[in-house]
Symmetry: C2
Subunit: 160 residues, 2 copies
DNA sequence: ATTGAAAATGAGAATGAGTCTCACTATAGT
DNA sequence: ACTATAGTGAGACTCATTCTCATTTTCAAT
C-alpha cells in the first residue's frame, strides 16, 4: 500500500528518503553526513513517535552522548530534526515536518507518552487563518504553529 | 471600561478576583494563602504576558527562589497557575485559564517573547472536534489543548 | 597516493534551571 | 498559651544539556 494510495489526501510533503534529504541539507550548510548522523536519522525514522535521547541510545547504542546532542542540534539547524519541549525531564526529537509532514501530538499528562496525529485540511487552514489574523494585529510574522492535545493515554486511563 | 462591556463576546470565564480564587482553591487543598503566594499571584496578574522566574524576582524582589518555585508548583497543582515550557532557558508562568480565560500564544523564535492571543469560538470548537476525533481513534482521553504560533515579533522582524 | 584544511568525535568538565533538605518560623484551631 | 500542621529560606544537590579540547575523520586538492 503506497502512501499515495487513491482517495487519500496527500497532506504530507514527506520526501521519499530522509537520508537523501539530510545529506543534501547538511551539504548545503558545509557539513558532512557522517555515519553517526546517519544512525540518528535512522533511529528517528524507525521510531513511530518522538523519542528522547535515552530512547535513541537504546535504539542505537555506542553513540557518544555529547556527539548525539551536538548532531541533533546540527540536524535541527538544517531542518531535518525537530525538538519538542514537553516539560518532562528530557526533550523529544522527531524528524522535521518537511520529512514527516505537518502533524500534531497527543501528550499523556500521566506518563508523558507522545503520539502523532493529523488533522483534516479544513481545520488546518482555519487554524492558520485565525492565527494569521491574530498575528497581524501586533505585527507578528507567522512562521509555523504547534498544536498539542493533552490528556490520558488509553493505558494510563485504564489504570484509574 | 468593564471587561464585560457591551458587544464584547464573553469568551473568558475569568473570575473577578484571582486572589479570592487562589485562596479558596488552596484552602480546598488544605493549604494557606500566605503573603508570599499572594505576591506571586499579584505579579502574574499584573503582568500582561507570561513571565519567567527572573521576571518575577524583578517584579517582586525578596522572595526566596526555592520558595517561589515551590509555591508556583503548589499554585499549579491547584489550577491557579499554568506553566509554559518553550525550550528557552526558563519556564514561563501565567495565571491558569480558569482565571485568564482560554487563549493561545505568539512566541518569537528570535527573542523568546510571548504574547497572548484569542481565537474566535468557531475555530476553537472546530479544533476541539478535530482533536477529539483523532483522540478517539486511539482511546486517548482529551483534557485540554495548547496552540502556539511561532514567528518573529515586530521588533525582531524590524531588525532583519 | 599524500597532504592539509576543515569538520567531527569522545571523554569528561562545566553549566544552570529547578528541586530537595532541614532547621526554623508562622498560622490556625482549641 | 499550646500544639499540630504548613510554610519559609539558605544552600546543597541533581541531572539534562552544553562546552572544551585533544585526537581522529573526511574530502578536496595536489
Ligand atoms: Mn496544524
Ligand atoms: Mn484553543
Ligand atoms: Zn500515559
Ligand atoms: Zn522577538
Amino acid at each position: 500500500m503506497d502512501a499515495r494510495s487513491e482517495g487519500e489526501a496527500v497532506t504530507s510533503e514527506a520526501s521519499s528518503d530522509p537520508h537523501a534529504e539530510a545529506a543534501s541539507r547538511l551539504q548545503a550548510a558545509g557539513q558532512r553526513y557522517t555515519s553517526g548522523r546517519r544512525e540518528l536519522v535512522e533511529a528517528l525514522a524507525g521510531a513511530a513517535r518522538p523519542v528522547t535521547l535515552p530512547d535513541i541510545e537504546s535504539i542505537a547504542p555506542g553513540l557518544a552522548r555529547s556527539t548525539a546532542y551536538r548532531n541533533l542540534e546540527a540536524l535541527e539547524r538544517c531542518g531535518v530534526v525537530h525538538r519538542l519541549e514537553t516539560g518532562g525531564d528530557h526533550a523529544y526529537f522527531e524528524l522535521a515536518e518537511s520529512l514527516l509532514g505537518h502533524h500534531h501530538h497527543l501528550i499523556c499528562v500521566t506518563c508523558g507518552a507522545i503520539a502523532d496525529i493529523e488533522l483534516d485540511g479544513e481545520t488546518e487552514s482555519r487554524i492558520d487563518d485565525s492565527l494569521a489574523a491574530a498575528a497581524r494585529e501586533s505585527g507578528f510574522v507567522p512562521l509555523h504553529h504547534s498544536l498539542d492535545l493533552y490528556g490520558r493515554c488509553s493505558s494510563c486511563d485504564a489504570a484509574a
